[in-house]
């Protein structure tokens, strides 16, 4: 893995060769109109710096520049894919080929189901192991694209007698697709600007942390393949607007279909493309090409998107899709007017124009604006307004974005991409309108929600590539060697300045490559199922408590045992322990989650009532106090309380869990409600006897996560018993006891004569079931 930063740096040099050479050739929009011969000479410079690559360009390029161009761009693209693939492998090399985090476990489990039971069985899958006792219809509530893709690759490989386990397919799917993303970004940027910018963009997107965060090996999630589908759809759209051919549009629709099947973010496409068309109309850039492209795209795309069971009739019902319909109607009206314009005299047309257009267009506009406003934009605008719904607010990726996150995920690109946007708008054409709109909308959504940084990343890469490539284009070419005679007054900036600028720019790009590698290695490559800690001398401890506990569950409990845990761990329990869970990361049923939260935050006897009613056999909690793991259940506990309070305000109050000073403390000063609730007791059971760090001055029962000595060391359970605690106490599992037998009565029992047996059976019926059972049992015992 150490080679990865070097590879990145090397790439930049390769690139510089390509960029310096062809900046001006592929697209004649720039002032610097170097001819092909001159551009080939440009290759010699970076060739000297980067080694091998440029030399050939010097000798053979003079005769056949086009051939060398494609060879070089092919190799750069290939290397970009390779760099992208390999820098995503940190986790696999450090740990093993393992599925990461939470959601991927569900995806993996569904893919496994798909490969073992077939496609139709998967579509009709009712999962009775989740959301006990409700169950979950999986086939109709997932975007199946990811599973089908992985299943298909697995099927093809097996057909070729390459026997790979489905898990390996799942683990390596995202890195492979990142390579495809690089290629489609290259294609899109080439359409927008030129080939050099395209290659730069491909290299950027291959290693940029904003995209790696969702596509490291093992992160088997929708976003991994969806970004490829997104970029490819946009490429085909731009292509179809440029050519106006139905062929490209149908391709765009198919790609859109794939996107719809893969990720809910397809809504972004179905709003951005109509917005593009709408703005083109406003700018009076209407053309036949736009008409053909959009009309075909809307109809075919609509029909195709409705084929996904989870999407169903949403495209014609919900407000997110209404903007597309409105623009479709508007485009038809506009085209009709254009048609009339040719047929009518000027006078007639003007009357008609003022009457018809102001009426119809006004109405369409208002509807579009109204619907867009009330639907999509308000929904996304007010993402943050939903923050008072605890279950949404509790997910960290639904938070707004600080500038640090922007810089962390995009580094130099975040400062330079406005320059690219500037160049695009200054040299506007149909497809650059598209990329400008893409940038503006994506940057807005990324500001609202950290998670949507993912949709911003591709456009930032593209626009930064435009900015860098325009700089390189002007500063890298060596104009002293040009064959054409220097034009009379056209003086260059001089070779010194040019080379200094080039060097500094390359240095920036090098820093970017180094930053990306560092971020990937340190921030985004932890599987979070397996933890690692480092000692002072650099040796590593692997904490494999999660899998230890899940395998314990798998091996030692009844096959149909029901495990209660907080929803974060639902998918993992289902995936690794193969046991029934009450709630999981799907979070579709808030009241069910609130019930679990209520059980966790009530005292033991109240919790026992809830657990009995939910048929719970085991309770699983995460406790980090021994090793100082901060993502444990006590730290998440206030969210449980809040969610429970939202549904059961009479029983649970958040303020009860704070000290009078408003602090959340687990030590002696903590609130008594907290110190006696089920979660606290389960977390700290027997912890009071434990000396966490041997030899240190901490008292027994010292919680390393919260740096406090716990307040309640004398914890006893009545209805639960400890079943399992993992090596570092990270996972603790408790068994919920069955109801006790009734205690034998201490007084002497009535002697019941057999004849009265019938009456004794009848009398209790009036008294209620419990008593009836008791008396019946007594009479049974003595008869």
């Amino acid at each position: 893995m150490k080679s990865s930063p070097n590879k990145g740096v090397l790439l930049q040099y390769w690139l510089s060769g390509a960029l310096g050479g062809w900046g001006g050739t592929s697209d004649g929009k720039h002032k610097a109109s170097t001819n092909a011969g001159g551009s080939v000479h440009g290759n010699s410079r970076p060739g000297a710096a980067g080694g091998g690559g440029g030399k050939v360009g010097l000798s053979g390029g003079l005769t056949q520049p086009a051939g060398w161009q494609s060879l070089l761009s092919f190799s750069i693209l290939f290397l970009a894919c390779l760099a992208g693939f390999s820098s995503r492998l940190f986790a696999v090399i450090r740990f093993e080929s393992i599925i990461h985090e939470f959601d991927p476990w569900f995806n993996y489990r569904s893919t496994h189901h798909l490969t073992t039971n077939g496609f139709y069985e998967f579509l009709n899958w009712f999962d009775e192991r989740a959301w006990y006792p409700l169950g979950r219809i999986v086939g109709g509530t997932v975007y199946p694209g990811l599973m089908v893709t992985a299943g298909l690759i697995h099927y093809v490989l097996n057909l070729l007698h390459i026997t790979v386990h489905i898990r390996d397919v799942c683990v390596f799917l995202a890195p492979v697709f990142s390579g495809l993303t690089a290629i489609s970004t290259f294609l899109l940027t080439r359409e927008l600007w030129n080939q050099g910018a395209g290659l730069l963009a491909a290299c950027f997107i291959a290693i940029v942390p904003g995209y790696i965060s969702r596509s490291v090996a093992g992160s088997f999630d929708n976003e991994g393949i969806a970004i490829f589908a997104l970029q490819f759809t946009y490429y085909l759209w731009v292509k179809s607007v440029k050519t106006g051919s139905v062929f490209w549009t149908i391709g765009c629709c198919l790609s859109y279909f794939y996107m719809v099947s893969a990720w809910g973010g397809y809504v972004f496409i179905i709003n951005l493309i109509p917005l593009h068309v709408f703005v083109l109309l406003l700018m009076q850039r209407y053309s036949r090409r736009v008409y053909i492209a959009y009309s075909t795209f809307y109809i075919v795309g609509l029909v195709l998107s409705m084929q996904i069971p989870f999407v169903g009739f949403q495209p014609i019902r919900t407000s997110e899709h209404m903007a597309a319909a409105g623009v479709f109607a508007l485009l038809q009206a506009y085209a009709f007017l254009q048609y009339l314009k040719d047929r009518l005299t000027r006078q007639e047309f003007q009357t008609l124009f003022f009457l018809g257009v102001s009426l119809a267009a006004g109405m369409v506009f208002l509807t579009v604006i109204y619907l867009t406003y009330t639907g999509l934009y308000v929904r996304l605008l007010t993402c943050y307004a939903k923050i008072h719904i605890p279950i949404i607010a509790s997910v960290s990726e639904h938070q707004p974005t600080t500038w640090v996150s922007f810089f962390f995920d995009l580094h130099i690109l975040v400062c330079t991409f406005p320059a690219g946007l500037w160049f695009c708008i200054k040299n506007i054409n149909d497809e650059r309108v598209f990329v400008a709109l893409y940038a503006i909308s994506a940057v807005y959504f990324a500001g609202v929600m950290v998670r949507l940084m993912l949709t911003l990343t591709p456009v930032v890469c593209m626009l930064s590539a435009v900015a860098f490539s325009s700089v390189f284009e002007h500063y890298m070419g060596d104009d002293t060697k040009r064959e054409k005679p220097p034009e009379k007054a056209e003086e260059g900036l001089g070779p010194n300045i040019k080379s200094i600028v080039t060097m500094l720019m390359l240095m920036l790009l090098m820093m970017f490559a180094v930053h990306c590698t560092w971020v990937t290695s340190n921030a985004y490559s932890s599987p979070s199922v397996v933890l690692a800690s480092y000692n002072h001398d650099g040796t590593r401890n692997i904490l494999d408590d999660f899998r230890e506990a899940y395998y314990w569950l798998r091996q030692n409990t009844d096959e149909h045992a029901r495990v209660m845990s907080w929803w974060d761990y639902g998918y993992q329990i289902a995936g690794m322990a193969n046991r029934t869970t009450l709630v999981d990361n799907n979070t579709w049923n808030n009241s069910h989650i609130a019930l679990v939260g209520k059980a966790m935050s009530s005292n033991e006897s109240a919790a026992y009532q809830i657990m009995r009613s939910l048929d719970v056999d085991y309770v699983l909690i995460i406790f980090g106090g021994v090793i100082g793991y901060s993502g444990d259940d006590i730290n998440k506990f206030l969210w449980m309380v809040r969610i429970a309070e939202g549904e059961h305000p009479k029983d649970i109050r958040e303020s009860d869990y704070f000290t009078p000073q408003g602090e959340f403390r687990v030590d002696k000063a903590g609130s008594p409600t907290l110190l006696n609730c089920l979660m606290y007791k389960m977390s700290y059971y027997r912890f009071g006897e434990m000396q966490v760090r041997r030899g240190a001055l901490t008292p027994p029962g010292f919680d390393r996560t919260r740096n406090a000595e716990i307040g309640n060391k004398d914890i006893k359970f009545k209805h639960l018993e400890e079943a399992f605690t993992s090596e570092h106490w990270l996972v603790r599992i408790y068994k919920v006891k069955k109801l006790d037998n009734r205690e034998p009565l201490d007084h002497k029992l009535r002697s019941v004569v057999p004849k009265q047996k019938y009456t004794s059976k009848k009398v209790p019926l009036m008294l209620g079931g419990e008593f009836a059972l008791q008396v019946w049992r007594d009479s049974f015992r003595f008869s």
Binding site: V404, F406, A419, L421, Y444, G447, I500, S655
Partner: protein
């Protein structure tokens, strides 16, 4: 027998008469108090009280209404910033109640200022402001009749929940709409419209790419510098250390930011962008070579300087980040 009965009846009647007399007196007093309170409440939704009024209308027994009192210190010389904010929220709550259709004489809102009724503060043994207390219509105030300001904050919604909890009166908070946003928008639209009207013979500026590019850039820079975060989270502009008086503009953690900091970042991002644009302009424009060289040097200088500066700020916030450039 009959006489006995009549005597006892007589006694009963007299006694009853006596009782009803006291009752009547009480009732008149009560109705007087209620009318007085209603009259005040109709004038201002939060009744201002001093020591006498407090004793008479809140402490003295015949009472069938609850009173929610904010003890505060609003005089400027007290320098209580929190009191002012709490007062605004309390006003919102009281107004929402006052002008709601469910308004009755069951609940009144009042406030006691320290400088007007310091005897009340002494009487209740209170030494902090603001404090919210509820005086129930029946019985003595209990522990939960003191609002937990530290825990729940003083947002009107939270206060309303507390009121609902204590008095069974549900108050829907209606905040007076904030006119600043629409006004600003209206002003902006008027300005644009005015500009369009003044230049109605020449609408070229609508097709000016630089204007559009500039506004797009502004939007992008605003977003990437985390202004949305500021808008949602409302951080302070900068932090002043109370003991040393030192003002820090950069938040120490990567999870949060100050407003000042985002403005700095916005400027730095803009400078880097401008540097890139200058570099390209220098290479392509038709100006004489000296100016172009200056532009070029300025451009690369801007890019390098501000990027490394930005990197150093980032490094200060993101602990453990190893790389820096030009500045550490």
């Amino acid at each position: 027998m009959f006489g006995k009965l009549s005597i006892s009846l007589f006694v009963l009647i007299i006694f009853y008469h006596d009782l009803s007399d006291a009752q009547k007196k009480k009732e008149t007093l009560l109705s007087e108090k209620v009318t007085q309170m209603m009259e005040w409440a109709s004038k201002r939704s939060v009744i201002r009280m001093n020591g006498d009024k407090f004793r008479r209308f809140v402490k003295a027994p015949p009472r069938n209404y609850s009173v929610l009192i904010m003890f505060t210190a609003l005089q400027p010389q007290r320098q209580c910033g929190v009191c002012r904010q709490a007062d605004e929220e309390f006003q919102v709550l009281a107004n929402s109640w006052r002008y709601s259709s469910a308004f009755t004489n069951k609940v009144f809102f009042a406030s006691v200022d320290f400088d007007e009724g310091s005897d009340v503060f002494q009487m209740l043994n209170m030494n902090s402001a603001p404090t919210f207390l509820h005086f129930p219509s029946k019985g003595k105030p209990r522990k939960s009749d003191t609002y937990e300001l530290q825990v729940r904050g003083f947002a009107a919604e939270q206060l309303a929940r507390w009121v609902a909890d204590r008095t069974d009166v549900q108050i829907r908070i209606i905040r007076p709409p904030n006119y600043a946003g629409p006004l600003l928008l209206g002003f902006l639209l008027a300005a644009i419209g005015g500009l369009a009207y003044l230049r109605r013979h020449n609408l070229e500026f609508l097709f000016n790419k630089s204007v559009w590019a500039f506004s797009a850039l502004c939007f992008v820079l605003i977003m990437t510098s985390g202004q949305m975060w500021n808008h949602i989270r409302g951080p302070p502009y900068a932090h002043k250390n109370p003991s040393t008086g030192q003002v820090s503009y950069i938040h120490g953690s990567s999870q949060a930011q100050f407003v000042a900091e985002t403005h700095i970042v916005l400027l730095f991002n803009a400078a880097v962008t401008m540097g890139m644009v200058l570099l390209c302009e220098a290479a392509t424009s038709d100006m004489d070579i000296g100016k172009r060289k200056i532009m070029c040097v300025a451009g690369i200088g801007l890019v390098m300087l501000f990027f490394s500066w930005l990197l150093s700020i980032f490094r200060a916030k993101y602990h453990g980040y190893p790389y820096s450039f030009l500045m550490s």
